[in-house]
Amino acid sequence: MSRRLAHVDRVGVEERAAQLGGRSIKTSAKQQGIRLAVSVLDLTTLEGADTAGKVRHLCAKAVCPAPTMPEIPSVAAVCVYPALVAVAREALNATGVRTASVATGFPAGQISLAAKLRDTEDAVAAGADEIDMVISREAFLAGDDSRVQEEIVRVKDACGDAHLKVILETAELGSYDHVRHASMLAMEAGADFIKTSTGKAASGATPGVCLVMLEAIRDYVERSGRVVGFKAAGGVSTSKAALQRLVLVKETLGDDWLTPDRLRMGASSVLNDLLMQYSKTETGRYGRSEDFSRE
């Protein structure tokens, strides 16, 4: 069956996203927004050079991002490669911070379905609460929607009780029409969250991509009654960018989505900028990056 795409107008999407980007978030709204942004953060390290030591440091930071500012909450989760899930899980035990793992041949996904399932099962067995899978862009771009969905269904099975986030890697999809279509495929196949990017592609959670995915979620939830979450990942490296993403969510899906069980932001470097901006709202001056530990 040939694919039928919903229409998305690029110019209109980007104008609306830019308009929402102009919201003025100051004073108490900035403080609350920063706390909210921290609480939905998936603190991430996905490097070839990751070690148990680095992951333990990151977990400590995730549980207590700023010891001098107790009003800053823990982040939502720590996201690592499958091989380091056990380390993270142990470090995060009983802290409320969840362990997330990428899987399915992240980031390219160019491995067999059997290998993808095995990758997922390993991560779940090691204690991952959440799995971030990638869709097969190979199948999607070749027009094979059923294979894209079949993979998601199988991985979802392999997840068991673990939560499934489906990464669309929008930078590789080529158009907003495709972003919307892929969002719908993923949700219909059972995704608990849909997520913009791996963070390894040329662009990530641009405002336009976020808006198109949020509108897809809104329409899917309205039609099906099943709640799906949203994760922005890639390219959100400043407080301003993080707050702008929150605005997009608030004004598209509403306040119900401003919680860690429906919204995540994946990032490695934004946390310290959030902390510096928060301390600026408290003290009136910008701190130094040395004031906060890197991990």
Partner: protein, 486 residues
């Protein structure tokens, strides 16, 4: 499996009012005649009111017949010198005015919002930058006029009288003044009675730009001032933007006189959504088409035509989106819909909305808290509208949209053109051929495709039928200010 929410953080936008501290308004403004502010012949000063608070902002002189005659004499006297200037010199003055508007953009935006009630976001991002852009655009035309109208020789008309409305006070002044001056005319501008302040700041800017005395005259006042200007001997052209009723009076008054006329009047513009449109963006376009500037837009997309196959879906999306509009303090940077311009306009809107309910259309108005003082009207949607209803025919000039449905492309065109007006239209479709076909069949001066209320100084703007005649903007906007000699 659900994750329990460990932190429940409520996130509301804090008030973000733009500061008005940097605004230096005088308590009282005279008439700008002969290069400076002058006392009116009869001391008649009226307060200009902030429609969001009902508080007076400044007192402004209203020009009477004697003042109009004095202004015309001054403009006539200034004309030969201005017309004889090398075109490049006229260009430089326009360029200087454009730069000064940019320099004072923040102040102009705040004053526009205080005086007219429009959200700061709009005055800051649309009105003021576009006003500067019009001066920049026509600065470039001043020494190329022949090419703009495709003629060997052209000459200015002389003294032009220009009457502008209250919905885009500074922008409409720029639309009128920039081409008139570029063509070598001297101009007498009458701002609207409820919104004279930015025109008076523009007068200060003209003085700062050292524009020769008498080239630009600003005469605040009400309809009587406008009527006197229309009838004053020595005015070679009248350019009017405003209601169709007043436009009709002006045309009657000028019958049989050697005074040229262009009119930009009302509208009931059709915004047509086809089933193959990008619906979420179409909804944004509908919102921008009718709630931009509280619907005080002559080309507002107030007649929404939706293909029946997507009618329910679009209305559901639109209604949901309307609930997200932020209504209130126009100075707040996050406000989407501000105050209605005047008590009189609010009453007009209320009257027509009541008529819509009486005639049996289904009214839905956004539930929101409106400030106690000031003039406010919450965004309103009418469904079950029949083409004969007053709300489908008459211009409401407020944040009120009337929805009609259609079945086929031919019916959409027929319904869109079935109006005494013909100012603008919008087409929402993802099919290029259809968009061009429909656009050519619509009797409207401006047709937007997959966007709405998008303005640019290079594009001509004007109407068909009772929406007036003459074009403003781009090279087409030069012709009404020139005599073509050969």
């Amino acid at each position: 499996m659900t994750i329990e929410s460990r932190t429940s953080i409520v996130w509301e936008y804090a008030p973000a009012p733009e500061s008005a501290d940097h605004v230096r308004l005088k308590d009282r403004y005279g008439l700008f005649i002969d290069g400076d502010f002058r006392e009116p012949a009869q001391a008649r000063y009226m307060p200009s009111i902030n429609p969001a608070t009902e508080e007076p902002i400044a007192e402004v002189a209203w020009a009477g017949p004697d003042d109009v005659n004095r202004a015309v004499a001054s403009a006539r006297a200034a004309h030969p010198g201005w017309a004889a200037l090398p075109a490049l010199e006229r260009s430089k003055y326009l360029f200087r005015i454009a730069r000064l508007i940019q320099e004072r953009a923040r102040e102009l935006a705040v004053v526009e919002t205080l005086d007219g009630g429009k959200p700061l976001r709009e005055s800051r991002d649309v009105d003021i930058p576009l006003a500067a852009a019009h001066f920049f655009h026509y600065a470039g035309w001043a020494d190329k006029l022949r090419y703009g109208v495709n003629a060997r020789e052209v000459a200015p008309l002389g003294v032009v009288g220009q009457i502008v409305p209250w919905n885009f006070p500074l922008l409409m002044a720029a639309w009128k003044l920039a081409p008139a001056l570029a063509c070598g005319n001297t101009a007498i501008l009458k701002p609207a009675e409820t919104t004279p302040l930015t025109a008076l700041l523009l007068a200060e800017i003209c003085r700062e730009a050292e524009l020769p005395a008498g080239v630009v005259t600003i005469l605040p006042g009400d309809g009587a001032t406008g009527a006197a200007l229309v009838r004053a001997p020595g005015v070679d052209k009248i350019a009017f933007t405003g209601s169709t009723a007043v436009g009709r009076d002006i045309q009657a008054a000028l019958a049989g006189r050697d005074t040229r006329l262009t009119l930009e009047l009302g509208g009931k513009s059709a915004n047509i959504v086809f089933e193959d449109a990008a619906l979420d963006q179409a909804v944004e376009g509908i919102v921008n088409g009718i709630f931009f500037n509280q619907g005080h837009v002559c080309c507002a997309g107030s007649r929404l035509l939706i293909q029946e196959s997507v009618l329910d879906e679009v209305i559901a999306k639109l209604w949901r989106r309307m609930g997200l509009l932020r209504i209130g303090d126009p100075l707040d940077k996050n406000t989407d819909v501000g105050a209605i311009n005047s008590a009189e306009q609010l009453q007009r809107i209320e009257t027509l909305v009541a008529a819509g309910e009486e005639e049996g259309a289904l009214r839905r108005t956004v539930a929101c808290e409106l400030p106690e003082r000031g003039y406010w009207f919450a965004p309103t949607l009418f469904t079950d509208v029949s083409p004969a209803h007053r709300i489908a025919v008459e211009e409401i000039f407020g944040p009120v949209v009337s929805v009609l449905s259609f079945r086929t492309q031919a019916e959409a065109i027929e319904k869109a053109n079935n109006s005494r007006y013909g100012l603008a239209a919008g087409i929402w479709t993802d099919k290029g051929a259809k968009a061009f076909e429909v656009a050519s069949a619509l009797k409207a001066g401006v047709v937007w495709q997959n966007t709405y209320n998008h303005f640019d100084p290079t594009a001509a703007f004007g109407g068909y039928k009772e929406s007036g005649f003459g074009r403003e903007g781009g090279p087409g906007g030069l012709r009404p200010y020139l005599r073509v000699l050969s």
